[in-house]
Symmetry: C2
Subunit: 274 residues, 2 copies
């Protein structure tokens, strides 16, 4: 019997998918729901507490008193500024130790948070350890395939993201006919796709390329796509989506690929030389 | 007496500033106004023709029959897709020779266009050859100065832009407290600033960093700021603007700095080690 699972739940559907998957294995679950981020559906009918970002002490006490030993981080959390964070004393002490990372990229900060939980005796596992088919395979995933022009756009997108990765910035790009329409910083992929729809030139194309960053922690922060991504890509007139094989989470694979197929959009798993 | 000047005019106020500056030196001027881009004020009371992008043959004939020998490119032009361009025969032949650059970044394309005009016997000069005080100096330009935190943000912005420069993408970034809020691709600096205003975290900061790209042609495509940039930065709550010394055009310096001073915004000329 695996130990009780603590799910630290940000936004989106992934946290609930994890609740359901753990329960299918008869596993006990406790949700630490991040205020202003987690969806109400995530905690329906589940043992949980709501904790605001910045209340690190309260979060640890809740996880310990619930008897969790393994933790999984799931769902997006918008990074706050220091004034917005309103850190409690525990969090202040954490930030004092990790002050450098607070002012660097998300990867460094998330890694420090994870190390902090490990210090407190928790074992962090990844969403894909619980739902094994979350990870994307290599090659075309749906019915449509990238043509030669799309492969060129994917190649250019990879080059841009790889140039930015060492700086812990750059989640995704959109490329059309060799032209980089947009680069994602902190606005989120949905906002990038929407903006690029307006910037797209007449004519074919527009490929979303989304990679994990070099130092991105595979246990707590892999890039994620799902049915919403397909709907956004369709609305923006994109022809395809390329994500990194084995380092991207695909939420609700059958529905995502069905909607991509119907919209004429390819979904392609990139095999990066390592 | 300098030869008659041909001004190839895109959007914004710079083309008109060049008309006025040339006339102050009693120099003859002809404006080739790009349709859907140049402002009507640019050509008021000046010998000119309107030509659409893609009508390369017509443009060359107009410049030759007007007797221009020197050309200056000024003002922004939105890059079209091939279907939007509707190239004439001359332009088709140019594109056939330069097909590779059409699908790469702006710098390569602009350089090819400039080479094409040189092939036809024109000499290309730069806006700063006509208006000498257009180029930004190093250090603080207005009354306000970047503090240590702002200098850190400038440094991070430079690192991001320098990583992207070899790929001919990345005009500007906005950084707040070490966090890269936004990266400009083709949307334009105004759109970047606007978006970053919405993404800004509570608390101080937000610096626009804008550099010329490594291969950016200094004769035809330097980064430009002016009073509009200050107004946009103020609306977005930014604290400062850092641009590259001697490789950025500053339009209407007295008004730009007055408005920056009044808004509490610093304008800083970056001295890059070369």
């Amino acid at each position: 019997m695996p130990p009780k699972l603590g799910i630290i739940a940000g936004g989106g559907v992934l946290p609930r998918l994890l609740v359901d998957a753990a329960r299918r294995e008869q596993r006990e679950v406790f949700v630490l729901a991040v205020k202003d981020h987690a969806a109400p559906e995530t905690v329906a009918d589940v043992e949980h507490v709501w904790v605001r970002l910045g209340a690190g002490g309260e979060a640890l006490r809740a996880l310990k008193s619930a008897g969790c030993q393994e933790l999984v981080f799931a769902g997006g959390v918008k990074r706050p500024s220091l004034p917005e964070l309103r850190p409690d004393w525990y969090t202040v002490k954490f930030l004092a130790r990790a002050s450098k990372v607070f002012f660097s990229g998300d990867d460094a900060l998330l890694r420090a948070v994870r190390d902090e939980f490990a210090r407190e005796g928790f074992v962090c596992i990844a969403p894909q350890d619980i739902i094994s088919d979350l990870l994307v395979c290599a090659g075309p995933l749906g019915r449509h395939k990238p043509d030669e022009a799309a492969h060129q756009d994917i190649k250019r997108g990879i080059a841009v993201l790889q140039a930015l990765a060492p700086l812990d910035v750059g989640q995704a790009v959109i490329v059309q006919q060799g032209l980089v329409l947009g680069i994602e910083a902190i606005e989120g992929t949905a906002a990038l796709i929407k903006r690029s729809g307006d910037l797209k030139r007449a004519g074919a194309g527009g490929v979303l390329v989304k990679l994990s960053k070099t130092n991105q922690d595979q246990k707590i922060d892999l890039p994620t796509i799902g049915p919403d991504t397909i709907a956004q890509a369709k609305a923006a007139g994109l022809r395809g989506i390329a994500i990194e094989a084995r380092r991207t989470l695909l939420l609700d694979l059958p529905r995502t690929l069905k909607e991509a197929d119907d919209a004429g959009i390819f979904v392609f798993g990139i095999e990066l030389a390592s």
